[in-house]
Amino acid sequence: MLLEIKNLHANVEGKEILRGINLTINPGEVHAIMGPNGSGKSTLAAVLAGRDGYDVTEGEVLFDGKDLLDLAPEERAAEGLFLAFQYPVEIPGVNTQIFLRAALNGIRKYHGQPELDALSFLKLVKAKTKLVNLDESFLKRSVNENFSGGEKKKAEIFQMALLEPKVAILDETDSGLDIDALKVVSSGVNALKSPNNSTIVITHYQRLLNYIVPDFVHILYKGQIVRSGGKELALELEEGGYDPITAQFTEV
């Protein structure tokens, strides 16, 4: 298995947000994590990516057999974990190309590989921009600065294509996207699918799952996975909303 989350508990500012998550993800699988606002979806993504300020109080996460929680964010990236941000960060003054080169070379260095020369880097980057229909000119701009919502999400998927992760977590990638952008982003994600990697799609709405079809759907509520099923579970939510499911899990 690629990712194994066992009894994961995490606090944010002293408050317990994740309360015992168990999830196993195998190569080639697409998992959707759905849930109402405040259920802990984004917290789970942040904890997996290694963000400061999230305290894991219990449990463990194995990534391809390694203790994920013991690694710095950049080491997680180098091991093959990728997080597509819900709100990609604008970084004025940092050229996109310089950023991407630092990222690629950081990962190569981690694996003891030589740095990519400028030419091979550029060739690689240009090939990947086609996947999500991004104009190459974005490489000359500052990271995400003044990008439209659609451009930002496309740029995230482009980065994913460049870094070729084993596990990609898409955190609310559908938020703020019109239908055309959603299609481009989804087809990008689908094109990157392989029997060796897996995808976790975090979303509030079922809409995205029409385009990125999951093998498994999990419902997160109050920091726990309260139900798991196939893609039909998402359709059930589409019709009835979260209430019928969450009503059974009132707090003790």
């Binding site: 990516a49 290694g50 963000r51 400061d52 710095a72 964010p73 950049e74 997680r76 990236a77 180098a78 990728f82 997080l83 941000f85 990609p88 960060v89 970084i91 004025p92 003054g93 940092v94 310089i98 950023f99 991407l100 630092a102 990222a103 690629l104 950081g106 990962i107 260095k109 981690y110 500052s142 990271v143 980065q159 870094l163």
Partner: protein, 440 residues
């Protein structure tokens, strides 16, 4: 009663007076300069060194620099060491003209003056004085405040520096690089003195570099006076790359005539205790002055920038952007004075001072100081103090950029606001490389 603080440096004042007597004996000057020197040493003796009780020196105790006991070097020749030093000089690939000074003395072996357009003069100040230059005689000390201690001290002991004259309507395309290098293990004091004169519509790119090939203690006390004719354009860049134990005090004063444009960037990476005074007097309508600054410090560095934008005439514009990145126990001081005189209507003055504290022990003392006597003006100032953007750093890390490099990338982006406008690519790139190296 003399003030206690002053007493701490009284011995130093006496030492400089004694050294002056020796200096005069060994380096007789033409009568006009001798008069100026004598007036200056008297002014210096009367003023003494400032203390933290002086408003202008509130956050910077200059006593250690004042009290530096140094053997005067009134003669110096690099001799055989030139070849060795040459390879270590900053901005080596910068095209154009270079005047180099070692321990305050002109070093012809390290200098290079290319072909010059008619009428342009670039020479060591000592040679211009020896040649009895009328221009130097008239302009020397005209644009600086002789009633400031360090300017007075510099004037008393000034031996060398650069003299640059660009006549009217001449655009000097290639930059002029003034390089001041301190070598040797002995504590030294140098007083570089630069005089830069531009005629109407003349244009000049000037780079001043202060550096060392020693890790030792020394004091550089530099004065650069710049006079621009109407419509002249000057791009000035100062790279302060002194040794980590060095004291550095400098005064740059610019008289900006009608419709002239000056852009100055003062980049501070080196030095233990540093004070830069940048003063721009807008003497003619339509003058436009930009004073930018960058401060990157660590350990116990203390770097103080005092700027003055003196709007003496109407319809002038001034822009100011100071960026500080302070680590460890270092201290930054920024005092930005904007003075709008009574007649200076339609003044447009903008000042911004931004600081990133990389450590909880680092300190910034930032003070905008606005004195506005005219009523129809636009003056804005803003100051921000914060840490490095954690969200941005996390974002970079999630893409595989190591933490330290992510930090360095963000700091360089921050510094970029000051570096970007510098048109000389060699200077910009090397400064960025030096910043990167310092952050490692």
């Amino acid at each position: 009663m003399a003030r206690t603080q002053t007493n701490l440096t009284q011995g130093a004042v006496t030492r400089y007076e004694d050294a002056f007597a020796q200096f005069e004996r060994e380096h007789p000057a033409p009568a006009w300069l001798q008069t100026k020197r004598r007036e200056a040493i008297q002014t210096f003796a009367r003023l003494g060194f400032p203390t933290v009780r002086d408003e202008e020196w509130k956050y910077t105790d200059i006593t250690p620099a004042a009290n530096l006991v140094a053997t005067p070097i009134f003669h110096f020749e690099l001799n055989g060491a030139a070849a060795q030093v040459r390879t270590q000089l900053p901005f080596q690939t910068l095209e154009g003209h270079r005047l180099a000074f070692v321990n305050g003395h002109y070093a012809p072996d390290l200098s290079h003056i290319g072909e010059l357009p008619t009428g342009v003069e670039i020479s060591p100040l000592s040679e211009a004085i020896a040649a009895d230059s009328e221009r130097v005689q008239q302009a020397f000390g005209r644009s600086v405040n002789g009633e400031e201690t360090f300017v007075a001290l510099n004037t008393a002991f000034a031996q060398d520096g650069a003299f640059v004259f660009v006549p009217a309507d001449v655009e000097l395309v290639e930059p002029v690089h003034l390089l001041f290098l301190t070598t040797g293990d002995a504590a030294t004091v140098s007083h570089p003195r630069n005089l830069i004169l531009l005629g109407h519509n003349a244009s000049l790119k000037l780079v001043e570099t202060y550096c060392s090939s020693t890790e030792g203690v020394y004091l550089t006390n530099a004065v650069t006076e710049i006079e621009s004719g109407a419509g002249a354009r000057i791009e000035h860049t100062k790279a302060q790359l002194e040794s980590p134990k060095a004291f550095h005090v400098s005064t740059i004063q610019v008289g900006a005539a009608r419709d002239s444009q000056l852009r100055s960037s003062v980049l501070n990476i080196g030095g233990r205790l540093v004070r830069n005074n940048s003063i721009a007097v807008m003497q003619g309508e339509g003058a436009e002055v930009t004073l930018n600054g960058l401060v990157l410090t660590d350990h116990e560095q203390h770097i103080d920038n005092h700027t003055t934008m003196d709007h003496a005439q109407p319809h002038c514009a001034s822009h100011e952007m100071y960026a500080h990145v302070l680590n460890d126990k270092s201290v930054g001081v920024f005092n930005g004075k904007i003075f709008v005189r009574l007649d200076a209507q339609k003044t447009d003055a903008k000042q911004s001072n931004r600081t990133i504290l990389l450590s909880g022990d680092a300190t910034i003392n930032a003070k905008p100081q606005l004195e506005i006597l005219a009523d129809d003006v636009r003056c804005t100032h803003g100051a921000t103090i914060g840490q490095l953007d954690e969200t941005a750093q996390f974002y970079l890390q999630t893409r595989g950029v190591p933490a330290r490099e992510a930090r360095s990338i963000l700091i360089r982006a921050f510094a970029g606001e000051v570096l970007e406008p510098i048109s000389l690519e060699v200077v910009r790139d090397e400064m960025e490389a030096r910043i990167t190296a310092k952050l490692k």
